[in-house]
């Protein structure tokens, strides 16, 4: 029973962040429909914030898609881990793939037997999906109802969401150094490259450092 309770509490807590996404997306001039489609079909928080972050900063659609997709590659690795546990085919596999995100994989892999792993995955996956989409809509409607987003501090909500997502990953000297490198590289590129490009270019840092060390 406890795996279902854990799944529900995590789903509600994470789903509520959808409010921040909905509001930030509306502020970056995405319509309510576009905002809701991102939550329904992309359904991966970091990638969704990346799209609106790049386009909101004046970047091209291609930069936005590339940045969001690179952030989505970890979902592919989660899928490789989850597929042998879930053992589903056909339509069920399509649904399982869509629900494969940080939270559903985390809850599943934290269980010590296969039955709880499967229960944890489906309950968390569907739970986050439902709450994330409801709160996205509420956030977008709320942001549209207010006037100038800067006056309400919404333009700082996007970098705040990103820093909250990256902060727990900065666990040692190496990760902090590479973060400083990403700040420096992106700032140096700002005056010389089209908006959006400085962000995606920092992925080269990850590839170079990860390849060697």
């Amino acid at each position: 029973m406890s795996v279902k309770r854990d799944s529900f509490s995590l789903s509600f807590a994470v789903g509520a962040y959808g409010t921040a996404f909905g509001a930030a997306s509306a502020t970056a001039h995405f319509s309510i429909l576009q905002t809701c489609l991102l939550s329904l079909l992309t359904f991966s928080g970091a990638s969704q914030f990346a799209v609106i972050g790049v386009v909101g900063a004046g970047g091209s659609a291609l930069s936005a898609i590339a940045t969001a997709s690179l952030l989505g590659t970890r979902n592919a690795l989660y899928g490789i881990r989850m597929a042998p546990i879930l053992k589903v085919k056909g339509f069920k596999r399509i649904v399982a793939a869509q629900l494969t995100i940080d939270e559903s994989t985390a809850i599943a892999t934290a269980q010590d037997n296969e039955k709880d792993q499967i229960t944890g995955f489906w309950h968390t996956g569907f739970g986050v999906f439902i709450f994330w989409n409801i709160f996205t809509l509420l956030g977008a409607l709320g942001a549209q109802a207010i006037g100038n987003p800067s006056a309400w501090g919404l333009d700082a909500a996007v970098p705040a969401a990103f820093i909250a997502l990256v902060w727990p990953r900065l666990v040692d000297k190496k990760t902090r150094l590479i973060a400083v490198g990403a700040i420096a590289l992106s700032l140096v590129l700002v005056p010389f490259t089209p908006a959006g490009l400085p962000i995606i270019t920092t992925s080269l840092l990850a590839i170079v450092v990860g390849w060697r060390a």
Binding site: L62, I94, A156
Partner: protein, 103 residues
């Protein structure tokens, strides 16, 4: 078609393709340590760059403004391990106050 629509459709398509490909690949692909290392570093550099670009730039110029106050509040909230909604709301309030003082 607007930048927003192309970005939305492209992102949705690739997000699902990546997820589905994962469910269709053999498990041994995970084993390569190089893939694991790069995969762990990619979110760090991209998210850090997204923080930077969204807090100190406007288009292709570096602009320091009210958003820095919001970012400062977010960092303080993170230091005290406060939950995500508090971080985002705190940043918005900090930035809004700075905006009203500077306009």
């Amino acid at each position: 078609m607007s930048t927003q629509w192309i970005a939305v459709i492209g992102t949705c398509a690739f997000a699902f393709i990546l997820k589905f490909v994962g469910h269709s690949l053999p498990e041994k692909w995970l084993a390569h340590p190089r893939i694991g290392r790069i995969n762990a570093l990619i979110p760090i550099v991209l998210l850090t760059a997204l923080v930077t670009i969204n807090s100190v730039t406007v288009k292709t110029k570096i602009v320091i403004d009210h958003r820095m106050a919001g970012l400062g509040v977010a960092i303080i909230a993170l230091y005290f391990k406060l939950p995500f909604p508090v971080i985002v709301l705190g940043a918005a309030v900090g930035s809004a106050i700075a905006y009203h003082f500077s306009h």
